[in-house]
């Protein structure tokens, strides 16, 4: 497969995952706003920006309308949903012949839908429905990809992109939510009921990962921060947990290494294996004390894996590749 094609597939997938994540965060925050006093709102939006790793604008971001506008339809904001969908489509368009027609049609339809809707229409009809459609559209795309594209190298690059983005974004989201927690930890023991507001915050975190129901199945509706951290970081079965993502990243990278079987892939495999193994054997009690450092490290590992993928498969130095080619030919 062409290196450029791998690059396009990888980023197509990352941008879609990002669009879905952003849509879910906005949706959850709009929903939770209904249960809250307005003085918390500004703070909440600020935290949303932080968890998306975008600088919070100095002015004009005090109401839900403006924030939603900026994060959804503002094409000048590179992190907005419309920008992500456009970027995903641009990447797909460059590899139009590599993905199935069904995949392209779904993505193109979603893009046209997005372009056709404007903020007022969306806001005054039903933002929740719009955002839910958006998430569904991305999930439908993933389903179509699984069902119509050969599960070959390109498909694995799509998976790597999705799960690196997911692990990275989930780590950032957890980090923002647990920032205050570590300082207050002494006051809050697991047996003490958190107050009403905190309860909403933690449920909000779970919902931001579509994890509320899945969490309850494991721990019942007993909402405890440490258990939430355990679930979103270390659960092996839940598809949005960091451990699950790390497993998928490693699987996909192993498949890619097998299919390309040309060069040394040890660095990228070692990095992916290390993250995954660490998460496999981790205990939440050992990390909750300095969870910030832990999550920071996860994000750095994701970036390192990303760099290693590019070094190995995409922007590798030509001199070395020619030597190998020569060796193979003689």
């Amino acid at each position: 497969m062409l290196s450029r094609v791998a690059d396009n597939l990888y980023w197509m997938s990352r941008y879609l995952e990002r669009a879905e994540h952003t849509a879910r965060l906005i949706d959850v925050n709009l929903y939770h706003l209904l249960d809250q006093k307005s003085e918390y709102a500004a703070q909440r939006w600020k935290r949303l920006y932080e968890s998306l790793r975008i600088p919070f604008p100095d002015r004009g971001m005090d109401d839900a309308y403006n924030v939603t506008q900026a994060l959804t339809f503002d094409a000048t904001n590179a992190s907005s949903i419309v920008s992500c969908i456009t970027a995903a489509r641009d990447n797909a368009r460059q590899v139009r012949e590599q993905i199935s027609t069904e995949m392209w049609e779904q993505l193109n339809r979603q893009y046209l839908q997005m372009k056709k809707t404007n903020m007022e229409d969306m806001w005054f009809s039903e933002p929740h429905e719009f955002l839910a459609n958006l998430k569904e559209g991305v999930q439908l795309f993933q389903g179509i990809a699984d069902a119509t594209m050969s599960h070959n190298e390109g498909w694995h690059f799509i998976r790597v992109g999705r799960f690196i983005e997911r692990a990275w974004a989930t780590a950032a989201l957890l980090d923002v939510h647990f920032r205050g927690f570590t300082q207050r930890q002494e006051e809050i023991t697991d047996s003490v009921q958190t107050d009403h507001l905190d309860y909403l915050e933690w449920v909000g975190l779970l919902r931001s990962c579509s994890a509320f129901e899945a969490y309850c199945k494991v721990y019942t509706a007993n909402i405890q921060p440490t258990r939430i951290a355990e679930f979103l970081l270390l659960n092996a079965e839940f598809p949005r947990s960091i451990r699950f993502s790390a497993t998928m990243i490693q699987n996909a990278l192993q498949s890619i290494a097998r299919e390309t079987n040309a060069r040394s892939t040890s660095r990228v495999e070692r990095l992916a294996g290390r993250v995954r193994a660490a998460l496999d054997y981790e205990q939440i009690e050992d990390i909750i004390g300095d969870i910030h450092a832990y999550l920071e490290n996860i994000q750095q590992q994701c970036m390192r894996i990303h760099d290693a993928i590019y070094q190995t498969y995409i922007f590798y130095p030509i001199g070395a590749a020619l030597t190998l080619e020569g060796a193979a030919q003689s």
Binding site: M1, L2, D90, Q94, R96, T101, E105, N108, R263
Partner: protein
């Protein structure tokens, strides 16, 4: 052959009430407004079919194009550069006898033009024998000196051709243009058929229509047949200028149809005169390149030094015989519009045969008497720049203003070699579904010819439509559309 616009004296039943006949050939109706035999079934279906059903089918077709992202890019247009190419629902029908003539005529023409290119880049017999003036060939903008005296793989210069045909008032097909560089449009031919099969399945079924779906396979086998000799396990790629090129959709379409990699210049590197592509599994050698990039841009070291689309060193690898480019470099000399006037002579010279498909009458402006005639009659003629395509650089006399004619008069005088003139042709018209009724629109026909180890022409081609009433310009870049083209089984 001048355009006449006297309305027919017949009134047809709805949905044809807006239909009028004039001096041009009508694809559907005889001059007495009776439908021609091959169109009778379609005619009766349209009389029976309620207009809103037709409207629904048209919308379904438009949606299919939009959702599939079948678009082309308009240059110099700010509001969104992607547009769908208007598709007209009604098929254009060609009988098998008509097709037989077209097929023979095209094969003859392509064979002769390929021999001509070979001759021009080697012995120049045709110039020595005085059939074509030397000065005319040497002043072609697309003549490539770098190709002199070097034998291209398998001696094949033109592999992919899209020839523009028009139907004259007497019903005969004539060649309007040879496109021997990087002709486009074949993806629309194929997609139009797919859409037709989806929206009007019973109609196409009731006619026996020759299939065209094997084009991709035929193209791939033509390309691989030209691989450098002695290479096993041939790797063929399609080289595109990238996503911003107006025909990008087509490039992706063809790569997919053939199952080959679609590469950009930045995906290829040349080392020791061997071309490689950069893959996730390392560098892989490339043998045949179907290039959709103009000569000027393929290699910044050999041609346009500012080009970032091409591959540095590609031309040397080509000259070393390590890679095949299709079409070959320098084929544009044979589709220069002034050389066009000599194609009948070229056919007679190389094949000792009379041309099967006639040319359109063409005035060469380097010839004084012809130039004088053209300058005096600019308001009835079409003037074209010799090296241009896509409907750019043209003057259409009957539709021009005084100042436009002045401008062309000045241009012709200062550079007569750069222009030719032709009579304004009354292109044939075909029924089109426009704004809720059926009206005649001018059409042409671009069949696609493949020449690898032998000539293959898939039956049909792209029928382009001038969607503005009375307009003669069918180019996609200038408001044209297209329709499915049926060659009947018998």
């Amino acid at each position: 052959m001048l355009l006449s616009n006297t309305p027919g004296s017949f009134t047809l039943p709805p949905p044809f009430s807006g239909y009028s006949l004039d001096g041009a050939y009508d694809e559907m109706f005889h001059a007495d407004s009776k439908p021609r035999q091959p169109y009778q079934k379609l005619y009766h279906r349209l009389l029976e079919m309620p207009l809103d059903i037709l409207q629904q089918r048209q919308q379904a077709a438009d949606m299919a194009f939009l959702n599939q992202g079948i678009t082309f890019t308009v240059y110099g247009n700010d509001e969104g550069t992607e547009r769908i190419w208007p598709y007209d629902l009604l098929p254009r029908i060609i009988t098998s006898e008509e097709w037989e003539t077209i097929e023979k005529g095209l094969a003859q023409r392509i064979t002769a033009l390929d021999l001509f290119l070979n001759d021009i880049y080697h012995e120049e017999h045709i110039l020595a024998d005085g059939v074509i003036p030397r000065a005319l060939v040497y002043s072609c903008r697309h003549l490539r000196r770098q190709m002199r005296g070097w034998r291209v793989p398998h001696d094949r210069y033109i592999t992919i051709v899209g020839t523009d045909l028009v139907r004259l008032p007497d019903g005969q097909f004539a060649v309007l243009e040879d496109n021997l560089r990087v002709p486009s449009g074949v993806s629309y031919m194929l997609t139009n058929r797919e859409v037709m099969k989806r929206v009007l399945p019973s109609l196409i079924d009731s006619y026996g229509v020759k299939p065209i779906g094997h084009y991709g396979q035929a193209l791939l086998s033509a390309l691989t047949s030209l691989a450098p000799i002695g290479r096993a396990d041939i790797t063929t790629v399609l080289l595109t200028p990238g996503v911003y090129n107006s025909a990008y959709y087509e490039h992706t379409f063809l790569a997919r149809q053939m199952g080959i990699e679609l590469v950009e210049g930045r995906d290829l590197i040349v080392h020791n005169n061997i071309v490689y592509m950069r893959t996730t599994g390392g560098l892989r050698r490339v043998d045949v390149i179907y290039r959709r990039i103009d000569d000027d841009y393929v290699d910044p070291l050999a041609f346009h030094p500012q080009s970032t689309l091409g591959v540095p060193g590609l031309f040397n690898a080509y000259r070393a015989g390590n890679v095949t480019l299709a079409n070959a470099i320098g084929t544009g000399v044979a589709d220069d519009k002034a050389i066009y006037a000599y194609v009948p002579a070229i056919i007679r010279y190389y094949l000792q045969e009379d041309p099967i498909l006639p040319n359109v009458e063409t005035y060469l402006l380097t010839d004084q008497p012809q130039q004088r005639y053209v300058l005096e009659n600019l308001d009835t003629l079409v003037v074209k720049a010799v090296g241009e395509s896509g409907g750019y650089g043209m003057l259409i006399g009957p539709y021009s203003t005084v100042s436009q004619r002045e401008e062309f008069r000045r241009r012709i005088r200062s550079n007569p070699r750069n222009y030719i003139a032709q009579p304004t042709l009354a292109l044939s018209h075909a029924p089109c579904f426009v704004k809720g009724q059926i009206e005649p629109r001018h059409v042409d026909l671009r069949p696609f010819i493949l020449y690898g180890d032998r000539i293959t022409i898939v039956p049909g081609g792209l029928t382009r439509v001038a969607l503005k009433r009375g307009s003669l310009i069918v180019n996609s870049s200038q408001g044209g559309g297209s329709k499915d083209t049926w060659v009947l089984d018998m």
